[in-house]
Symmetry: none
DNA sequence: GATGAATGAGTATTCATTCAT
DNA sequence: AATGAATGAATACTCATTCAT
């Protein structure tokens, strides 16, 4: 097993990809990413067989990270609303503190290269958040709507809020509060 | 590189671009678009100096079209809620009936090639809808939030709803209704 | 039809390919060929869609040329033996005077890239020579063998003879004479 | 880069190379060969310093094997013609029973990578067969031709015959017989 | 104005070979 | 000695854009 594959190098490539994609979009070249990661051109392909595989790995990793950030403080046994607020805060905080990661994730979501399997994996990572959301939905005005649709509305609301916070950080607190209030009115 | 004569050809190129981008994504080549439009390779550049200019023109045109579809029946003097519902119906109907155009618009929104000027023009086309939205917002629970943010929340809600209708047309009526109800709870 | 495809350029590419393949073998790169032809890298692909297409075109062209060189003086109404001798002389002369072309043809014959259709076309070009050979075979000791097999034996004899002439030109006349004599003993 | 220990591994690599080259041609990669041999990528280079050295070793080995197969039964003290027939049978049998080995040898013969030294070694392996051929030539119609040229004609005849047997095995016996008869007419 | 040939920089991936483990 | 990760040069083909006809 001489000279095992280096997890550090693998991570370096993923991090480099985030930086390069954030700067250049999904048309970023593998050469640029390898250079940014400090590895040789061809080494990238020891860690990811194709560019598409790198894209998919990145997608799942970022989506999982995002999901985790909103699920972190979720063990509370307070009210559903309190729990949802905490999730909201975690999500928004992650996006605002890691704008590159969030931007890349947004780009990848729209890419044709992301496979159904990767999307399923990303979906899976969001399960805890979806369960919490269920508690909120089931007794509120959206009790007739499907859980998936309600989740999509939450995501849409969160992303729109995050966009405003990033574009206009001076009013971050307001957007954060108003966005959550709007979400809660939707489903609570 | 004199001024183009034929508006027909210009339109043919734009329509062809919609078809090709819908099928291949933003990596569609100018050659493929020219071929689909039935014009020569180089002729495309008589009408659009660069690929980016074609992208921007398309963005503004589609955004304007979308805005128009929701503003069409807006002259009603009924209640704000009724007017908003009509706008909602127009918007959703356009997206569902022209899924290629809507898909291309979604792709272009995320593209780095779209300039600030184009985004401003697109924004301008949405003015009538935003005015209507203002009537709704000003007296409701979001009266403290900025109009732009509320508009973004409406857009996010509409787009999420449209996604579900397109993916699951059997339940289109439910999503349409529930989506609007959620929107109205947000701001009404 | 502005600026029609130039036959000169096409031929320049084919000639360049001959030179480069003769020097470097079938691993010659399209870039090297384009450079030798004095055209841009990408222009090669205006004339030949793929490298394989260039290879096939070259194969058919060289094979046809070789066949023509042996069929040239074939209209004689002398004996079959005389006619065959003339064909032999034409063939050997072509190969010896155009050693690069002959070498490239030899390389291409063994290539996996040459399609069945190209081989058929090459075969077709040899038809006149095969007809002449038939006259010789039908009444000689090989009258029971298939025409194709006899043709292959002739080709094998000719190519072996040519190899020796090229390697040892001082004794060219001897190889030429002895080779033909051997061939005639085989089938006459 | 010390001396290799295991002759087994060396042979495994050579055998694997035959299989892979037969399937993929001379563009077969060292990685593919190593994998087929069940050794690591880099280990191949312990046994063969370069790819070219592997090619050359293979060439000499296969040529020697082929020569041996035709020389096997050569101790007969029958007539020259009988001895030549036996050699012919041995040669053809080897080629027909080991089509991969023969194909690879044919490919290697045309390769630029094979050095003059290797060709000389291959030539040396054919010495017994050439000696036998001498006995046939010296008293026949080719007594004026050089031994080397006559040997080349024999090789050409044999290879053409083998091609037909492999392509059309149903008539193998006919080709075998007619091919030898033609050869014998040439020189006997 | 229209055409499509010409251009050459750019891209993902492969591969022989080296070298750290 | 064996392994397989690391390297970076090499390659066929694409594409936005220009320009001769």
């Amino acid at each position: 097993v001489a000279r095992p594959r280096s997890n550090d190098k693998r991570q370096a490539i993923l991090e480099a990809a985030i930086g390069v994609i954030a700067a250049q979009g999904l048309s970023a070249s593998t050469a640029a990413i390898a250079k940014a990661a400090g590895v040789a051109n061809g080494s990238l392909f020891t860690y990811f067989e194709t560019k598409a595989e790198l894209w998919n790995t990145l997608y799942v990793e970022l989506k999982t990270e995002m999901a985790a950030s909103s699920a972190e403080a979720l063990t509370t046994d307070g009210s559903a609303k309190d729990a949802l607020l905490q999730a909201w805060e975690g999500w928004v905080t992650w996006a605002v503190e890691m704008p590159e990661r969030r931007k890349v994730l947004q780009l990848l979501v729209t890419s044709d290269e992301i496979t159904a399997a990767s999307r399923r994996a990303g979906h899976g990572a969001m399960a805890p958040l979806r369960q919490l959301l269920e508690r909120c939905r089931a007794q509120g005005p959206m009790r007739e709507a499907t859980p998936g649709f309600v989740a999509a509305l939450m995501t849409a609301t969160a992303e729109a809020t995050i966009d405003f916070i990033i574009d206009d950080p001076a009013n971050a607190a307001g957007y954060r509060r108003d966005g959550f209030a709007a979400l809660w009115r939707m489903l609570g």
